[in-house]
Amino acid sequence: MVTVADVRTRVSSFAGAQVGEGDSPIAITIAPTDWLPLAVALRRELGFGFFSFMSAVDWKEDGLEVVAWVDNTDARLSVLMKTRLGVGVTNCASLVSEYRGANWMERECFDMFGIRFEGHPDLRRILLSDDWVGHPLLKSYDVDTPYPPYR
């Protein structure tokens, strides 16, 4: 059975990877370049097969951060993968080759945050209409938009 220690040792091999101390989710912050290799390691070697969700956070000046949560259902372990894309960077590696569930999740991240995922089969908006201008969940997207709520 995979334990938290195995995860920590395996992840420590990635340069610049910090692992949080808690283990209800094992929070792993990693460099954007190792995003896909980390996913591959987690899924193939450590058995984190369950892909729960993927999303992004806009930290205003500090740039965007991509977040993903994967689970090992047998060992009841969860990992929260985080990577800071750096100021003004809006592209990131895609996990679709590893987790097919990431397909729609990444399309939603692109739709809401404008993050382009290289290696994604067909990256287009999933929730908003194709002619929508702007990415709503960015902090710069002000709340009262030109489309007045119909009242």
Partner: protein, 388 residues
């Protein structure tokens, strides 16, 4: 869409032969379970490729969460999964409580589990009804089973109406506890309702269980393999029907679930029939949990914080957490980042139906149009949760 179709199906479909017919199923379609559009590419009756178009019910809950306070948002959170409103509120409220380390009195936790399990019974009633309606037709046997299930679901909604005053979207949970206490005579009504539903379950099974027509339509239809299930992240009854024994209430227990005994059904063949079986067992397990709660409901306050008096009453210190709740459709999660103010900094809502629906383009190719409808019904998506 580079959907990998299993080799067996691939060989059948690759004949050049007849030209393909693209057909639109939805968004205004009787069996679309809400607003969902599937662009089916057909060869004769069999579906070759599916392109799912969602987003018709998108209200941007996550942006709303950044503008509404902790006090206001629970009654909006219930609008994500409007068929199981209680579980959605529970996820949001638990996230705020976990960051701010607010403890919840035992009676409030017991009430939360009581309404969550009653909500699962009502939601499964709606699932069985609409699924049989899809497979059976509005002018046929399907409508009969649909009306039986709706008749039972109304009884549970009457219970919720006595408790909170509303029938579908309640705003029952608040940070620190719940807003309504159990009125007089509620426990008796509750026992009577769940006894009646348990008796009626036998009737549904008599109409469906080893009914040849039903088995013909569901056995071996829409098989989801174990790896595909985990890889796409489907959860709840769908995941357990594909052989993965993972139930959040038992494996990552939250609230007071450790106090109750309940069985977690697991099937292995992953087809529509397995999903039906898993949900029917869950029906009975939820009823037994409700009985356990009614027997052991502790006395005491129902909230550790005063009633809602002002907007900025609840402030959550800096921090982030991801709380997961086992909703009727699967894992409903709320990833919350708080920055100390009365409003969250960022809230990501993990809807169970979003991932459950994401598996369809992988399993539908190779089936006929009638099967697409049966598979959609067995996945039981709710589009408030998909589009958020």
């Amino acid at each position: 869409m580079a959907a990998e179709i299993s080799p067996r199906i691939k060989t059948e479909l690759d004949y050049a032969g007849a030209e393909r017919l693209t057909m639109n199923m939805g968004p205004q379609h009787p069996s679309a379970h809400g607003v969902f559009r599937a662009i089916l590419t057909l060869e004769g009756e069999t579906v070759v490729e599916v392109d799912a178009v969602i987003g018709y019910l998108h209200r941007c809950h996550e942006k709303l969460a950044e503008t509404l306070a902790y006090v206001q948002y629970p009654s909006i959170a219930s609008k994500t999964d409007y068929v199981a409103a209680m579980t959605s509120e529970h996820a949001y409220v638990m996230a705020a409580e976990r960051i701010a380390k607010i403890d919840v009195p035992r009676r409030a936790d017991y009430l939360r589990v009581l309404v969550a399990e009653l909500q699962r019974v009502a939601s499964h009633c709606l699932w069985l009804g609409t699924w049989c309606m899809d497979m059976g037709g509005a002018l046929g046997g399907g409508a009969t089973i649909f009306l039986y299930c709706i008749r039972e679901r109304e009884l549970v909604l009457d219970l919720f109406e006595k408790l909170t005053g509303a029938r579908l979207l309640y705003g029952f949970h608040q940070v620190g506890g719940v807003r309504y206490d159990v009125p007089a005579g509620f426990a008796a009504d509750c026992r009577q309702t769940i006894d009646l539903i348990e008796a009626r379950l036998l009737e549904y099974e008599a109409m469906l269980e080893d009914n040849t027509f039903f088995l013909m339509r569901t056995r071996g239809v829409g098989v989801i393999s174990r790896e595909l299930a985990q890889e796409v992240g489907i959860s709840g009854p769908l995941l357990r029907a594909s052989g993965v024994d993972f139930d959040l209430r038992r494996d990552l227990p939250y609230s007071v679930y450790p106090d109750f005994q309940f069985k977690v059904p697991v099937e292995t063949d992953g087809d529509c029939l397995a999903r039906y079986t898993v949900r029917m067992v869950e029906f009975r397990e939820s009823i037994s949990i409700v009985r356990q709660i009614l027997d052991g409901l502790p006395e005491g306050p129902i909230s550790s914080r005063p009633g809602v008096k002002a907007v900025a009453q609840v402030r959550v210190p800096k921090g982030e957490t991801y709380t997961r709740v086992e909703g009727p459709r699967g894992e409903v999660g709320c990833y919350l980042i708080a920055d100390g103010g009365p409003r969250p900094y960022r809230m990501k809502w993990r809807g169970a139906s979003f991932s459950n629906l994401a598996v369809l383009p992988f399993i539908i190719p190779g089936h006929s149009v009638a099967d697409v409808v049966a598979i959609m019904g067995s996945v039981d998506p709710v589009f408030g949760e998909v589009d958020r």
